[in-house]
């Protein structure tokens, strides 16, 4: 199969970029895979693409180079395709409308995968029907602004499939979006086996990692760890990551007198080397659309104590088997769960080993195989006898829901099928 991923900026750093690269790299072992990045602001991508994946850009934003296109007059005119309520909207323009449109129109891939709502909208509107169209949701339905959801609801019926990273989110789409004929499937993110021996559970460190943002609730983690220290002053907490909450957390640590036990380590890459120094991982988020760090820690042999927040943790951790789940926002519950693992070496190590083996289901090979099956099904359905009729049926439904855009698209499609 020839598979194209459409991504906002493949040259940046972030969860979507990393997980897309991992998936593309793995699929490229058997398929022809390219990543098309709307923007490019540096010469080389940060994450490893492997030898098989082609990466190209549509708009060159490398300032001070001859190819720089940020001054193009069309780039100053607002986009008319990219939805206003996708928070990347300010970066999109008449120039990106034209470039993305031209790219999609000339696309000869079997499958195109959009990696954020705004780009899925582009695909719904501008991609010819000969290509199987897949919308990926890396966030969750709950966090989209209502206006964006209205737009997606009218356009997603044109997609062949929608993938979410959790079952819970897939269920939300099935229940609240009602997308007849669109296959909705949950496929978690892949996390590679770390290139380092797993932790052995002997150290006395709890490790957390993520942006220092309010949603991560590190304030609650510091409070919970204060309770841990009262009982087990020989244990310490390391929090990796940078962000807006740093000063607040710093002063909380100082006011609580925890500066000999809780350390803000700053950003670290690769994180695997830091996980294995710990014996327990802690996640206190109030929201995790997936929970990449949970899987990463488990793949390093750490049991994770996490809040049972929506949506990811409950689908990754089996409470009491390979980690612990506690009610969100409850520092006491977090502290007791941590202490339970701290005070029981045998339990902690057993859960660590269980985490190591159960997290193998997130291996990129497993995840890529699920995508492969999905794409295969869709491509066969698309080409098969019922394909044209089915997609026409979907078009009709799409038109009922989404108005003018569908009419032009159907017209184009009818013309093409006559020719």
């Amino acid at each position: 199969m020839h598979i194209s991923f459409l991504i906002h900026n493949g040259y940046g750093i972030g969860g979507t970029i990393r997980t897309t690269f991992t998936l593309a790299r793995t699929l490229a072992e058997h398929h022809d895979v390219e990543i098309v990045s709307v923007f490019r602001h540096r010469d080389t991508p940060v994450f490893d693409l492997g030898p098989g994946v082609r990466l190209r850009h549509l708009v060159d934003m490398r300032k001070g180079t001859p190819g720089y296109e940020g001054d193009d007059p069309a780039h100053r005119r607002p986009s008319r395709v990219f939805p206003v309520d996708d928070n990347r909207y300010p970066q999109y323009s008449a120039l990106t409308d034209e470039r993305i449109g031209r790219f999609l129109k000339s696309l000869d891939s079997d499958v195109v995968v959009g990696t954020r709502p705004g780009l899925n909208v582009h695909i719904a509107l501008q991609c010819p029907s000969r290509v199987v169209r897949v919308a990926q949701e890396h966030l969750t339905l709950d966090v989209h602004p209502p206006m964006l959801n209205l737009r997606l609801r009218s356009l997603y019926p044109r997609m062949d499939a929608l993938t979410t990273v959790t079952e819970a989110d897939a269920e939300a789409y099935r229940r609240r979006m009602r997308l007849p004929g669109v296959r909705i499937e949950a496929v978690p993110n892949g996390v590679p086996e770390p290139g380092i021996a797993p932790g052995d559970g002997t150290g006395r460190y709890v490790v957390a990692a993520g942006r220092l943002a309010p949603v991560k609730r590190y304030d609650m983690l510091v409070t919970a760890f204060g309770k841990v220290v009262r009982e087990r002053p020989d244990w310490k907490l390391r929090i990796y990551g940078g962000g807006e909450q740093k000063e607040r957390l710093r002063s909380l640590i100082d006011r609580s007198g925890l500066y000999n036990h809780v350390y803000l380590m700053g950003p670290a890459a690769p994180l695997e080397a830091e996980w294995v120094k710990g014996s327990i991982a802690a996640v206190t988020s109030s929201l995790e659309s997936f929970g990449m760090t949970i899987v990463e820690a488990m793949r390093c042999g750490l049991p994770v104590v996490s809040t049972a927040c929506p949506h990811g943790p409950r689908e990754i951790i089996r409470d009491g088997v390979d980690g612990r789940l506690v009610p969100p926002g409850d520092a006491d519950a977090m502290a007791s769960a941590l202490l339970e693992l701290i005070n029981d070496d045998v339990l902690r190590r057993r859960m660590g080993r269980a985490a190591l083996s159960s997290s193998a289901r997130f291996d990129p090979g497993e995840i890529a195989a699920r995508y492969e099956d999905l794409f295969d099904d869709l491509v066969r359905g698309h080409r098969g006898a019922g394909g044209v009729l089915r997609s026409l049926g979907r078009e009709t439904r799409g038109r009922l829901l989404s108005g003018a855009y569908t009419v032009t698209d159907t017209a184009r499609r009818v013309k093409r099928s006559i020719a």
């Binding site: 380092i196 021996a197 932790g199 006011r255 007198g257 080397a273 294995v276």
Partner: protein, 297 residues
């Protein structure tokens, strides 16, 4: 031991200099430090010849240490491994890491890969061993691989520190020297070397050979201040007539702790106005105390 040491003999010209990070990033090296302190460096180096070396070059005086880079496994010619044994002393400083793929070939600046430093986190040290040697591989701010080294006849390792109304109270452990009953900690003012304040260093408990506690009285430092911003370095004098030992924190996996291991400040009123007193780790991970003027409330 298959290690060559030299001073001031420059290696052949490199494509990129020690600090620079150009688009042509060097090969990525994975470092592992084991319990014994041996530092193993693993690097994929296609086309390397027999005689390939790992080169460590100290910033400032260009002292060099070379270690053979040999196939990590028989028949796997591209994957090379060098081991810098714990017994090879690296002088204190920052050592930039390079690969020399073949005798006479230009050096390649190494980039950091996965550094497995778990053995450094809660390391056991024999307090009787001198000198105290520490080596931590790390990624420089230009994303190159270097090794931070300390080499001191003796060292006083901070274990816990509390900022209290009475001052900065420290529990530390002495390595490489013997603690006497007459040990004192000296605060030496960098801005005015005549200013020295002493506090007793007491054994942390009965039967403790090497663990001790002391309190730096903030009021005394504040009263002695010479300018708007003074820095006081802390030294342990373990016994009368013995050499002074710098107090710091070196024995883990953190090469640069200044911004990570931070402490709250104390503020107090003096006849000359309000001052802020705060312990901190220097760029060399040594413990010092700053005293600075605060604007009147």
């Amino acid at each position: 031991m298959a290690t060559e040491q030299s001073t001031g003999r420059p290696a052949p010209a490199a494509p990129a200099d020690g600090r620079g990070d150009r688009a042509a990033r060097g090969p990525r090296a994975d470092c592992t430090v084991d319990r014994s302190g041996d530092l193993a460096v693993r690097v994929v180096l296609p086309g390397a010849a027999a005689g390939a070396r790992l080169l460590l070059r100290r910033r400032g005086d260009e002292q060099e240490v070379r270690v053979p880079l040999e196939p990590a496994a028989p028949g796997d010619g591209d994957v090379l491994r060098a081991v810098l044994p714990a017994a090879v002393r690296l002088a204190e400083g920052r050592w930039d890491a390079y690969a020399l793929p073949a005798p006479g070939a230009g050096r390649l600046r190494l980039a950091p890969g996965l550094n497995d430093l778990r053995a450094l986190v809660d390391q056991e040290r024999d307090p009787g061993v001198s000198p105290v040697a520490v080596r931590i591989p790390y990624a420089t701010k230009h994303a190159n691989l270097s090794v931070r080294a300390w080499l001191r006849p003796a060292h006083a390792e901070v274990e816990e520190l509390l900022v209290t109304g009475a001052g900065t109270a420290v529990q530390a452990r002495l390595l490489g020297a013997r603690l006497s009953d007459d040990a004192v900690v000296e605060a030496r003012c960098r801005q005015d070397p005549r200013q020295v304040r002493q506090a007793p260093a007491r054994r942390a408990g009965a039967g403790e050979e090497d663990r001790f506690t002391f309190t730096v009285p903030h009021r005394e430092l504040a009263a002695a201040r010479s300018g708007t911003h003074d820095t006081w370095d802390l030294w342990l004098l373990p016994a009368p007539g013995a050499g002074a030992v710098r107090v710091g924190r070196l024995l883990d996996d953190v090469p640069d702790r200044k911004k990570i291991f931070t402490y709250p400040a104390d503020s107090l009123d003096t006849p000359r106005g309000r001052v802020r007193v705060q312990p901190y780790y220097t760029a060399d991970n040594d413990l010092s105390v700053t005293v600075s003027d605060l604007p009147a409330p």
